[in-house]
C-alpha cells in the first residue's frame, strides 16, 4: 500500500489582491520506502504542497484528499494531527531561522524525543546527542549545549535533520534543505540525507534538480501549482517529455546553463490553457486554448506527462 496518497488536492489562499491558487488538482502517490523528489521553481506550489500534508498552512482553503497509510488526514482533528506530526510524519526545514534562537540546540531535539514518551531529562538529552552524532556532527555533546547562532549554516541543517529524525518517523518531508548553503556544504548535506533516509519514505522538495537526482527514485516536476511530469529519475533525465523539464535540464551548469525564457506566472492570474505555453519554445495552437491532462507516455507506463505534444518522439 502506498504510504501517502494525494488526490485532487487544491490549496487556495484568499488575499486582498485576489485568490492565490497555489496548488491545482494534484494527484500523487508515494510508496512505502520510496523517495520522491518534487522539483519546481519558487512559486510552483511545491512548498505549499508539503506543508498542506502536515496541515501547517494558515489561512489556506484546502480541498481534496490526503491519505497517510489509508487515514484521511484532512478529516482528522487537530489533536490527532499533532500526534502524527514529528512522530510519524516529520518536516525538515531550511533557513537560518528554523531553530529557536534562545534555546539550546540539544534541548530542542530533546523536546521532540520527549514527545514519544521517553523517561526522563537525562535520557532525552543522551538520545538527542546520539541523534546529533548520527548526522555526523563532531563533538556532538559539546554542540548540544550551544545555541543556534553559534552554528554554521551546514551545521544548522544537520541539526534540523537530526531534529527531523529524532522520533524515527516513517515519512519525512524535506523542504528545500540545501537552499542557501555553499556548494561544498550542499554536497555533504545531500549525502547525509541520502544515507539517513535509506529505509524511510521521503518527499524531497527542492529546486535543485541534481540534488534530487542523487537521492530520489522518482521525480515529479511542478509548475504553476500542478504536476507537469512524473517518472523514474533515470527516465526523467534521459528522456524528458515536458518542455519545462527540458528547460530545467538545460539550465543545469553541466548541461549548458541556459535559462528558460520568461518569468514565473502569477498564481492569481493563471495563463489559460497549458500554463507553460507563454514560455514554451514549441507551442502548438491547442496549447493556449485547452488544458492538457496528465497522461501516461506510450513509451513508458510509469512516466506521466502533461503536454499535448509529448509523443512527438
Amino acid at each position: 500500500m502506498s504510504i501517502l496518497a494525494i488526490n485532487d488536492l487544491k490549496v487556495q489562499f484568499p488575499t486582498p489582491e485576489g485568490l492565490v491558487k497555489a496548488v491545482n488538482t494534484v494527484d500523487l502517490e508515494l510508496e512505502e520506502g520510496e523517495r520522491l523528489g518534487m522539483i519546481g521553481e519558487t512559486g510552483s506550489g511545491k512548498t505549499v504542497l508539503g506543508l498542506a500534508i502536515v496541515r501547517l498552512l494558515s489561512g489556506a482553503e484546502v480541498e481534496g484528499s490526503i491519505e497517510y497509510q489509508g487515514r484521511k488526514l484532512l478529516l482528522l482533528d487537530e489533536a490527532e494531527m499533532q500526534k502524527l506530526r514529528g512522530r510519524e510524519i516529520s518536516v525538515i526545514f531550511q533557513g537560518p531561522n528554523s531553530l529557536n534562537p534562545v534555546l539550546k540546540v540539544g534541548d530542542q531535539i530533546a523536546e521532540s524525543i520527549r514527545l514519544i514518551g521517553c523517561s526522563n531529562r537525562k535520557d532525552d538529552k543522551k538520545k538527542a546527542v546520539q541523534a546529533m552524532e548520527a548526522v555526523g556532527m563532531p563533538d556532538a555533546e559539546l554542540w548540544a549545549d550551544r545555541y543556534p547562532h553559534q552554528f554554521s549554516g551546514g551545521m544548522k541543517e544537520r541539526a534540523m535533520i537530526a531534529l527531523g529524525l529524532a522520533c524515527d518517523p516513517r515519512l519525512i518531508i524535506a523542504d528545500e534543505p540545501t537552499k542557501g548553503l555553499d556548494a561544498n556544504i550542499k554536497v555533504q548535506v545531500v549525502e547525509l540525507i541520502r544515507d539517513v533516509t535509506t529505509d524511510k519514505s521521503l518527499l524531497f522538495i527542492t529546486h535543485d534538480l541534481s540534488a534530487a537526482a542523487q537521492i530520489c527514485d522518482r521525480i515529479a516536476v511542478m509548475y504553476c501549482g500542478e504536476i507537469v511530469e512524473v517518472g523514474r529519475t533515470e527516465e526523467i533525465f534521459s528522456n524528458p517529455l515536458h518542455p519545462y523539464t527540458e528547460g530545467l535540464l538545460r539550465s543545469l551548469p553541466i548541461m549548458g546553463m541556459r535559462a528558460i525564457r520568461g518569468a514565473s506566472p502569477s498564481l492569481i492570474d493563471i495563463p489559460s490553457g497549458c500554463r507553460f505555453h507563454p514560455r514554451c519554445d514549441r507551442p502548438c495552437e491547442n496549447c493556449a486554448r485547452a488544458h492538457p491532462p496528465l497522461v501516461e507516455a506510450e513509451s513508458n507506463p510509469g512516466h506521466l506527462v502533461r503536454c499535448f505534444q509529448h509523443d512527438r518522439g
Binding site: F13, G43, T47, V48, L51, S58, G59, A60, L267
Partner: protein, 274 residues
Amino acid sequence: MSRKSAFSVGLLVLGAYILAAILSSFITPYSPTGLVGRPLDDPSEAHLLGTNDLGQDIFSRLLYGTRATLIIGLLGALLSVSVSTFVGLVSAYYGGGIDEVITRSVDVMMTIPTFPLLLVLTIFFAPSIFVISGLMGVLGGTQGIRIIRSQVLSLVEANFVYGAKAIGAGDLRIMTRHILPNVLPLATVKFVFAAQRYMLMGVGLGFLGLGDPSVVDWGQMISRAYYNGGFALGLWWWLIPPGIAVTLLSVALALLGYGLEEEIDPRLKRSAAI
C-alpha cells in the same frame, strides 16, 4: 470594532468636541465665570448641571472647558511632532557630525523624565495655556526624535534619494518633496497619540493647580469639586461631568489613533508559506 469604524467614531467625537469649543460662546446659557445662581445648587431647568461653590453655572463651564483642553492637546502635539520631525529629518539626512551630536544629546535627554521637569518648569513661567503647550511640546518632542530619525534613515538610503541628488535636486527640495511625504503618515499617528497624552496631562496639571487660572479648566473643576467635599456632599453633577468629558475625548483620540495606525503600518502577521 473594526479599524475603520474605530477611526470614524473617533473622528466624529473629536469633531463634536471641536465644534463645542468653537461654538461655546454662542450656545452656553451663561457666562462661565459669572455668578449666576445660588452656590451648590442641584441641577434644574435653569442650570442643567447645577452650580458650583461660587454660584457659577457648571454646564457653561463644562462647554467652555473644551477650548483650553483642546488647545493644550492639539497645540502641544503639533509642536511636539514638529520638533521630532524637523530634528529627526535634519539629523538623519545630513548624517555625520551633526547626526552624532544630535543623537548623543537625545540619548542623554531621554534619560531625563519629562513630567517632573515639566512640573518644575511651570513654576517659573506664567501659567498660560500657550506656555504649557509650548513646554510640553518641546520636552515631549525630544522623545520622538529617534523614531522619526530611523524612518528617515531608511528612506535616505533608498535609491530614489540618490537619484534625485544625481539630477541635482537641492537638499531642501529632497527633504520636503521626497522624504517628508513618506514620514507624514508616521508623524500623523504620533500627532494623534501625542494630542491624547498632552490633553490628559493638561487636565491633570489643572487638577494639581498648575493650570492657567484665567481659563476654565476641567482639571480645576474636578479638583475643586473633590476638595470641596465632593463625595460627602453628593456633588455628582460637579464632579462627574468633567471627568466623563475628559475620558470621552481621550477615548475618541485613542480610537482615532488606532484606526489610523494599521492603515499606515500594515503588519498582518500570518505564518503562511507559499
